[in-house]
Amino acid sequence: MKKEEIPQDDGALNKSTKEVCYAVDSEGKYTTELSTGWEVKSTALDAAWKDIDERVKAARQKVLNGEASPLLFFMELRLMDIGIVSAYTGFWKWTIRQHLKPAVFNKLTESKLQKYATAFNVELADLKTMNVHED
């Protein structure tokens, strides 16, 4: 890539910082230049977030339909898979799969629910109602 070809598009990162790109100058020598972003990759990130939003919506609907416990909703919202939830809560993956069933989830003790609330960074009361207060 030539230095003058470094894209200077808009992107989510450029709210916080420009980023360093490597490119060659007119003599073919490598140099660095700051870039505000590249449309190709900001649309890649947009595509990922659009997918996440859809997954969150679908999860909420599944919970409302009684097909899954609210854990599914918060897992999608917090971008966590069962492995990550397991790492944050200390529950086994198998146990978490059980807790994804509404009937099992509804019988969980407060201390177990609190572990989930902490892992998802939400209030205990919001865990069942799927209320989200963004920080």
Binding site: S16, V40, K41, T43, A47, A48, D81
Partner: protein, 339 residues
């Protein structure tokens, strides 16, 4: 309470390169630039790990395992390092404070999900980010994140939370820094460059698996051609978006680290004046360019502008072509006779 170590923040493309370069500068080793760090640390790589999903997409990396760039660079330059992981958060903070008190800015491995100064869009459960803590003012740790233009801060709680992020590659409070100033001669740099190149040649040409190195690039190219049928248009598009993010997102310097590697070979020429290095550097520029051309093709697909099987074939063929180009480049590197 106020404490601050001698430290100068220099922005870099990639976090681990930048942390390594800036930490070395903090102990008075200033010749090692970002490209030299990346090349000596044998950072360049490619792998698609089969059956593993990351954020519901393919697990693809353009660089070597996190932590190795710092470790190898220091090792190959003969610089002793301190590296520690912790099971207790209190111990982790105590050690951090003690290091700062003794005048050492320190590298910390962190997760980005709770990294408050990152834009929300970038905060995934990725646990192999690196930053430097170089002091504390009251409750605020002074933080130099090499991918950012300016220094920033994190509260004690915020720093603890990212140092003890959970999940794959959990940092477990990992801290590292060069123990002391060690004189690094040009001869030492020359030998470190050769070792770095030879390890990268091995990584890219000689791993006997078709998922890694130049063979890995070809394998992913072939897989891409099947994605449309296997996954459906939309999911295949998301997979390509993930490939592009791994290739271009903050940290690679563009073209999946291939440009930084080109810059490394040019700087290597300054120490080992062999014309071939400059020629091979040009091949990496071409490879980086082709990776970016492929990214534009991928974007056409995930934006829904194109999406026929033919379009996926073109995309896959780019990777097959890149695989051949890089195979040629690393073969030439393997044959260089150093004088």
């Amino acid at each position: 309470m106020y404490m601050k170590t001698e430290f100068e923040h220099l922005q870099a493309a990639h976090c681990e390169n930048g942390v390594t370069t800036n930490l070395l500068r903090s102990v008075g080793i200033s010749k090692i630039t970002e490209p030299l760090t990346f090349g000596i640390g044998s950072g360049i790589f490619f792998i698609q790990i089969p059956f593993l999903k990351v954020n519901n997409g393919p697990a693809i990396a353009f660089r070597t395992m996190p932590g190795l760039i710092f470790k190898r660079t220091c090792n190959r330059l003969g610089i002793p390092v301190v590296r520690k992981k912790f099971s207790s958060k209190e111990q982790a903070e105590k050690f951090l404070e003690a290091s700062l008190n003794s005048g050492h800015p320190v590298g910390c491995q962190v997760g980005v999900y709770y990294l408050t100064y990152f834009p929300k869009e970038y905060r995934f459960h990725f646990n192999a980010h690196n930053l430097i803590v170089y002091g504390r003012e009251g409750d605020q740790y002074l933080v130099s994140d090499p991918i950012m233009e300016n220094v920033t801060t994190l509260s004690r709680y915020e720093l603890e939370r990212v140092r003890f992020a959970k999940g794959p590659l959990a940092p477990r409070g990992q801290i590292y820094y060069p123990r002391e100033h060690t004189p690094v001669s040009d001869d030492k740099i020359r030998s470190a460059i050769k070792t770095g190149i030879s390890k990268s040649v091995n990584d890219m040409l000689r791993i006997p698996l078709n998922i890694a190195g130049v063979k890995g690039i070809a394998t992913t190219g072939k897989k891409i051609k099947k994605w449309r049928d296997q996954l459906g248009q939309q999911k295949a598009g998301l997979y390509l978006a993930q490939l592009v993010r791994m290739q271009e997102e903050i940290g690679t310097g563009g073209g999946g680290f291939r440009y930084i590697y080109g810059a490394f070979l040019q700087e290597a020429y300054g120490y080992l004046p062999n014309e071939q290095l400059l020629e091979i550097s040009k091949i990496f520029t071409r490879s980086g360019d082709l990776w970016r051309t492929a990214a534009v093709q991928a974007a056409g697909i995930y934006k829904g502008r194109i999406g026929s099987q033919q379009d996926f074939n073109v995309m896959g063929d780019y990777l097959l072509e890149i695989s051949e180009i890089e195979k040629g480049a690393f073969r030439q590197l393997s044959k260089i006779k150093w004088h």
